[in-house]
Symmetry: C2
């Protein structure tokens, strides 16, 4: 049978598709007459109107022509060379034969360098996840957030917004950063981005040509490395010590465009960069003509003393690009972060955002502005700080109890993770520890993914922001049994 | 007075900043003694505790040291070379002196080529806006949308999602495109993007190296041109006639990566590409090794006959990248669009999205999936189609009445805009018409921004999707008085 009812959709579409396939695969050729509508309708047990609609569409699209009084015929205008005459009856004609892709240099870089997507979840059930990249959803006032969002939905602006984002929200972010981090900015220096990954991407695009150099800390956030390498950067790693970046080792060179740093809480070692090194970093940037990209990913939490102000607050030359995110305080799927652009880069970064995706979706911007203006962000941070201090104490207690002198703990002063160095386990065994822990239902993270070159010590990164104290204690006990 | 209370924030912060400024500008030098806390507190009329907190922070940050029993002193560790000793008392020390930016080739391209941001609104009050890039917000079921969003907020997923987007939404989009546009895809071929601009940007990044060529229609959407030029593409314009792209004029060449086309409704001429040219385009792509980027920006509306199926539906080799957006059917600030990725590009485009911004915000994805699954999208389109048909009739009537044979109208068969050619007005006068119309409160759009080279005719683009019939009639009358 030439025409069959298969597939989905209205009957006329099924008939249309069946005939179109017959034409495109050469079973019906130019000039062939299509079945008489009445006969076809009877054969398929459908109304004649259904067949007429299908024929009408074939005619409208140029597959067929109607000749008054004599029926419908396959059009002559379909060039034979376009038709897959070699295809065999019964084989679906519209299979995709994968074209071979000739990709850009950018594409080849990201295929070889970047993570594919979300990491695959482990096969065994994880009871204790020492994740470090997110806060506890229990600390986030979800009901309040929904209420603020719902309120703003009533007056949602449906029009395009400026590339930088909603002016009210930018004003609130500028004021918040001044209060909380001493970051000086005007609202026009604020650029709303879809999380800090977009900040890294846009900054890389406007500053880095393939072959240019970017200075990074010897251990660093892998998403940043990904963005710089995608842009074709050579990475120059600077050593870290217990105070963070060893600024006396900052390199010289003609094509250094950027230094990416985490001075508030070095990721992953947790070091807090002291004042003299902050000033030295700025002086180096001025001499080198490089920008400093300060990623203040969790500057909000500090357990000993007051938080240090941001490096941006010390910058007199507009050399610091400051970036932060709301994902860690609120929730990851929010996808909202910001860049404080130095005046020299504000026009080009704004334009890069416009070319990349016009502007960040407005739906949440009003709610976030309210969240900031009404003081909810600071309340959320304070509440989380109290909870995180208790979690941190539980973690340090459990580590002391179960591991004692076998380990050394770094970076407990701020943030929501620590770095644990296993003194008596050789470097290179961290992955094995991770696997053994996972088999026992404990998810921990090797520090290796943070390094450009394999680290020379066995280290695990343990986040504690997403667990209860009881889970932390039980998790460390389970980790100890799994490892030793 | 060395210390003054100025600026915003808590009192202790004002004191802290004032002293820090004094240190960094050299008014206080290493070893200098800070004022006695009791004296300073009395002088400023604040409690002594406030001063103590400020001093504590200066010590914590390394600006000062406390010596038991003898007071607080400026630290020795601040290298003199870091300090701006030449700054004059009274001049704010933390002014940003704009650094000179050394920008990437990409940055230089977007600064010279791309639109800065939203176009500036005209100075006079516009009563009739013949905008072409958005639908009427009156046609959009805003209350329903808010209800769907609010319902999904209750179960909002706070975690990261895969780069491609929510699986439920991708399944719904794949099914919708099959029903509505005969586009064949699996949900894994769907990539959620932040509006079609991000689709253009990601596709450009993975396919185009600087110096590569991109084929475009002689007149085309300027946002696409922007994205291709940002990627460093040479643009090869192919002529248009009343049937759209003249496929016999498609160029040959070694570095042609992509042809960007709008076959459903050529933007701006409104031509519908006939079947034989669609097939010829695909054959050309196969021979050339280029991809076809089919932008189906308003394929939903057709007033005469049935909509043609997408070119993607004819593609047997996986050469077509299909993209569409929900901004025109729903609303612009939504920032949600999709790409149907051919299998050969799915891995690299997914990775490019991950590197660019991880994934599109989840907040609206569930609501949009519901909107599709419950049939609201098709209902919205059907309702808008009825309304747009009435608007279109009003527009054509008004043009006929007020301009008659002075103009020729193109592209009225589909979509929500027409191209009006003024027969007796010389090419190059379109901008003057736009200005005269604006002065009379009527916003119309010159076709010039769509062309690579200035067009050889005087043409205006008139959108009618966002106005009432009465406004359309009055607007065309006002346009006639303004022009003639």
């Amino acid at each position: 049978m030439l025409v069959s009812l298969t597939g989905t959709g209205p009957l006329y579409q099924q008939i249309y598709r069946s005939l179109r396939n017959a034409i495109l695969t050469g079973r019906l050729r130019s000039g062939d007459r299509l079945p008489v509508t009445r006969t076809l309708a009877a054969g398929l047990d459908v109304s004649r109107n259904v067949v007429l609609i299908a024929y009408e569409q074939l005619i409208a699209e140029g597959y067929a022509v109607g000749r008054a009084g004599s029926g419908t015929f396959v059009a002559a205008a379909i060039p034979d060379s376009m038709l897959n005459v070699s295809s065999i009856r019964g084989v679906p004609a519209f299979q995709h034969h994968t074209a071979t892709a000739r990709l850009s240099a950018y594409a080849r870089r990201i295929l070889s360098e970047a993570e594919a997507d979300l990491p695959t979840p482990p096969a065994v059930r994880i009871r204790y996840d020492f994740t470090y990249y997110r806060a506890s959803t229990a600390d986030f006032p979800a009901d309040l957030w929904r209420r603020l969002l719902a309120r703003r939905l009533r007056t949602l602006d449906l029009e395009y917004s400026p590339a930088r984002g909603d002016a009210t929200l930018r004003t609130e972010i500028s004021a918040y950063l001044r209060r909380a981090r001493a970051v000086e900015s005007t609202p026009d220096q604020i650029l709303l981005v879809n999380g800090s990954q977009q900040a890294l991407d846009l900054i890389s695009r406007v500053l880095i040509d393939p072959g240019d150099s970017v200075v990074i800390e010897a251990a660093h956030y892998s998403g940043a490395r990904e963005a710089f390498r995608a842009a074709g950067a050579r990475l120059l790693a600077v050593p870290l010590d217990r105070h963070g970046l060893v600024t006396s080792r900052l390199p010289r060179g003609p094509r250094i465009r950027l230094a990416y740093v985490t001075p508030s809480h070095q990721l992953p070692t947790g070091a807090i960069l002291p004042l003299d090194r902050r000033l030295e970093l700025l002086a180096w940037a001025g001499r080198t003509g490089a920008y400093v990209l300060e990623d203040d990913y969790d500057g909000e939490y500090r357990y000993e003393g007051r938080p240090l102000e941001a490096v941006q607050a010390l910058d007199r030359d507009g050399r610091v690009i400051y970036t932060g995110t709301f994902s860690r305080i609120l929730f990851p799927s929010l996808r909202m972060g910001y860049v404080v652009m130095p005046p020299s880069l504000a026009p080009v970064l704004t334009r890069a955002k416009w070319v990349a995706d016009r502007h960040t979706s407005l739906v949440q911007q009003g709610a976030l502005a309210d969240f900031l203006r009404e003081g909810h962000l600071e309340r959320t941070v304070r509440r989380a700080q109290v909870r995180n201090a208790a979690r941190r104490a539980a973690l340090l207690r459990a580590i002391e109890k179960h591991f004692g002198d076998d380990v050394e703990v770094f970076g407990a002063g701020t943030g929501v993770h620590v770095l644990v160095h296993f003194r008596h386990i050789p470097a290179g065994h961290a992955e094995a520890l991770v696997a053994r822990a996972a088999a026992a239902g404990v998810r921990v993270y090797s520090s290796a993914s943070y390094y450009l070159r394999p680290p020379d010590r066995c280290e695990l990164v343990l986040g504690y922001g997403a667990m209860t104290e009881r889970e932390i204690a039980a998790g460390i006990r389970a980790l100890q049994s799994a490892i030793f």
